[in-house]
């Protein structure tokens, strides 16, 4: 009689479970439905877009959010919150401005926790071939998040699900991270930096970290990023411009390319946030193809004169 050892049993169980998991991942109907998450419009005296400047990244992050009406405008008790910074590589420390400022991310984490959110997670997918663990560590974000009691989550390959993009003009489906679509709140936290192909890497471009095959998005990048924005719809976009990579992006490599701007930009409107961030580089939102395309799809406001912009200097 064949006798199954415990190890064999576990191995067989694991294989079966993996098979079932793959089965499910491959055939589950599209889960992402545009409109499931709607960025909350400002009410009363809340700013449409806020810009805070000052030498303390935590203080300007808090000030920028406060001007929008506070984090409670975006995060409710019990919410499932995902904070999505840019952690693209594992070979640049924060001062090189290739990845989002750790203090900005940690401050947002603390603010979300303070609302009584059910769960707050921080995650990103680095460049293909780079392990998230190594990138999380080198970026300084893991350490900063842990210091305020949080944990980083590695995005599981089986959770990228082929999802319809009904409003897409170039791409109509893509594999998108399920949890990003399912979360009540998505806080998009790009770093503002030069990008040799896109011109600038800002909020829209940062969403390439929630999909598979980002290289394919790089064809017809402008429209494809805008199509992705139409699906993902971050609740809040917070652009880190504390340190800005002015050239040789998206990875840089010389501190001479980094400019200290001590600025944080925030809005529920990803297009407006990106349009304002572009001005830090002497550009406009319409200069950047994906920002222009997203505005053309009605996903946000490109004309900053038409919205309330509150600028705050934090001493």
């Amino acid at each position: 009689m064949h006798r199954m050892t415990r190890r064999q049993f576990l191995r067989l169980s694991g294989a079966a479970a993996a098979g079932l998991a793959l089965f499910g991942a491959g055939c589950t109907p599209a889960a992402g439905e545009p409109g499931r998450r709607t960025p909350p419009e400002p009410t009363g005296g809340q700013a449409y877009l806020s810009v805070a400047r000052g030498g303390d990244p935590a203080a300007i992050t808090e000030a920028a959010i406060a001007a929008l009406g506070g984090i409670e405008r975006f995060v409710k008790p019990g919410d499932d919150v995902i904070i999505k910074p840019n952690i693209c590589v594992n070979y640049r420390t924060p001062e090189y401005a290739a990845t989002t400022n750790p203090t900005v991310v940690a401050t947002l984490f603390t603010m979300c926790q303070g609302t009584g959110a059910g769960r707050v997670r921080v995650m990103d997918t680095p460049f293909p071939g780079i392990t998230p663990e190594s990138a999380y560590a080198e970026s300084g974000i893991e350490e900063a998040v842990k210091a305020v009691g949080g944990v980083m989550e590695v995005m599981s390959p089986v959770k990228f699900v082929k999802t319809a993009i009904p409003d897409g003009r170039d791409i109509t489906e893509w594999e998108v991270y399920q949890d990003i679509l399912d979360a009540n709140v998505l806080i998009n936290v790009p770093i503002a930096k030069h990008h040799s192909l896109a011109g600038l890497s800002l909020g829209g471009k940062n969403l390439l970290g929630v999909i598979t095959d980002p290289n394919k998005i790089h064809q017809n990048l402008g429209q494809r990023v805008a199509d992705l924005v139409s699906l993902v719809r971050p609740t809040l976009t917070v652009v880190d411009a504390v340190r800005v990579l002015t050239t040789h992006g998206p990875t840089g490599g010389s501190l001479n390319d980094v400019q200290q701007m001590d600025t944080v930009i925030a809005s529920h409107d990803i297009v407006a946030a990106d349009a304002y961030a572009a001005t830090l580089f002497g550009r406009t939102g319409s200069d950047i193809a994906y920002v222009r395309a997203a505005a053309d799809m009605g996903l946000g406001v490109l004309d900053l004169d038409s919205v309330t912009v509150e600028e705050i200097d934090v001493e």
């Binding site: 169980s13 089965f23 050239t247 490599g253 010389s254």
Partner: protein, 324 residues
């Protein structure tokens, strides 16, 4: 032993359960295999908009890989105190995305062929990443180097650029070498690596003749960038994100900063295959909405343009000197 404490009936029951479960798992896997074979989850159809350079990502392997560039890397101990850390990584035009992702086009426009990466570490465990980039020809290497300059002049290879103790980049023949230390290391170590790499690489390579056409008066030292595509110069001049100048590998261009009356302006020269192409580019440039364009002209197959807040006479004089 646990089975010594159980009755034979209990053991029989457990074995029965295990047998049933193993059959269950076998059936599950069988279904899964049939499912895969039947193509229930077809792979994504080819994207007709994808150009030839766009290829699926190939995950880098931890296994040692062969690379024609491998012999150029210094062995452990060549620079005292430094040892090799990990295996050599090699990337070609199909796998480069795993190294630089969206930055790949920055290298493609200069005729990228392959890159190899090795990591070293010193006694303090500070990593030093060394990348050797091979492009199609020395002009491409020169261009890639000039588009990457950010620091001080370093006397390594044909020319080098450095943030002392942290970063060194130089070009030589058809190669561009970049060294990056995660923390500041002795500059003598960084330069030692550079010199060892330079000694191992093929010698030679001239900067493009077009660069010599830049007028010397007012030229900001080491500001010239040789380019084939607007993406290499987008932080110098913004051409609207469109290829208004008809740039390609068949054209060569150079842009440099000039200080005129305490104002920094940019002079751009582009060499076309023929005068007609240069004339067409001039028409497109003047008809476009390129900000900061102070003046432009064409002479034979050469297009010239000046960008910046410069008085008309100074701008024209610079342009004429370049197009002579």
């Amino acid at each position: 032993m646990w089975n010594e404490k159980w009755s034979s009936d209990q053991i029989s029951n457990v074995k029965w359960c295990v047998r049933r479960m193993s059959w269950l798992f076998f059936i599950c896997d069988l279904i899964f295999a049939i499912f895969l074979l039947a193509g229930c989850c077809p792979s994504e159809p080819p994207d007709p908009t994808t150009p030839p350079t766009a290829v699926p990502v190939v995950e880098p392997t931890a296994e040692p890989v062969a690379s024609p560039l491998a012999d150029f890397f210094p062995s452990a101990g060549v620079i005292p105190g430094w040892t090799l850390d990990g295996e050599l990584e090699a990337y070609d035009s199909e796998t480069i995305f795993a190294l630089v992702n969206g930055q790949a086009d920055f290298f493609f426009v200069y005729g990228f062929e392959q890159v190899a990466v090795r990591r070293y570490k010193n006694a303090e465990d500070v990593p030093l990443d060394v990348q050797i980039w091979q492009v199609a020809d020395p002009e491409g290497a020169y261009g890639l180097y000039t588009a990457s300059r950010a620091g001080d002049l370093a006397d390594v290879g044909n020319e080098g650029d450095t943030d002392p103790g942290r970063r060194l980049i130089f070009w030589q023949a058809s190669y561009v070498v970049e060294l990056f230390a995660r923390k500041t290391i002795p500059d003598t170590d960084l330069l030692g690596f550079g010199e060892a790499l330079s000694a191992a690489l093929p010698a030679g390579g001239e900067s493009p003749a077009l660069v010599e056409r830049l007028p010397a008066d007012g030229l900001v030292e080491r500001s010239a960038i040789f380019f084939y595509d607007a993406l290499s110069i987008q932080t110098e001049v913004w051409l609207g994100g469109e290829n208004v100048l008809g740039l390609s590998r068949e054209t060569g261009g150079v842009i440099a900063r000039y200080e005129l009356d305490s104002v920094i302006v940019r002079l751009m020269l582009v060499e076309y295959p023929d005068a007609g192409a240069a004339s067409a580019a001039l028409t497109a440039l003047e008809g476009g909405e390129v900000s900061d364009l102070a003046g432009a002209g064409a002479q034979d197959n050469l297009l010239g343009a000046v960008f910046g807040q410069v008085d008309e006479a100074s701008g024209r004089a610079l342009l004429e000197a370049a197009l002579e």
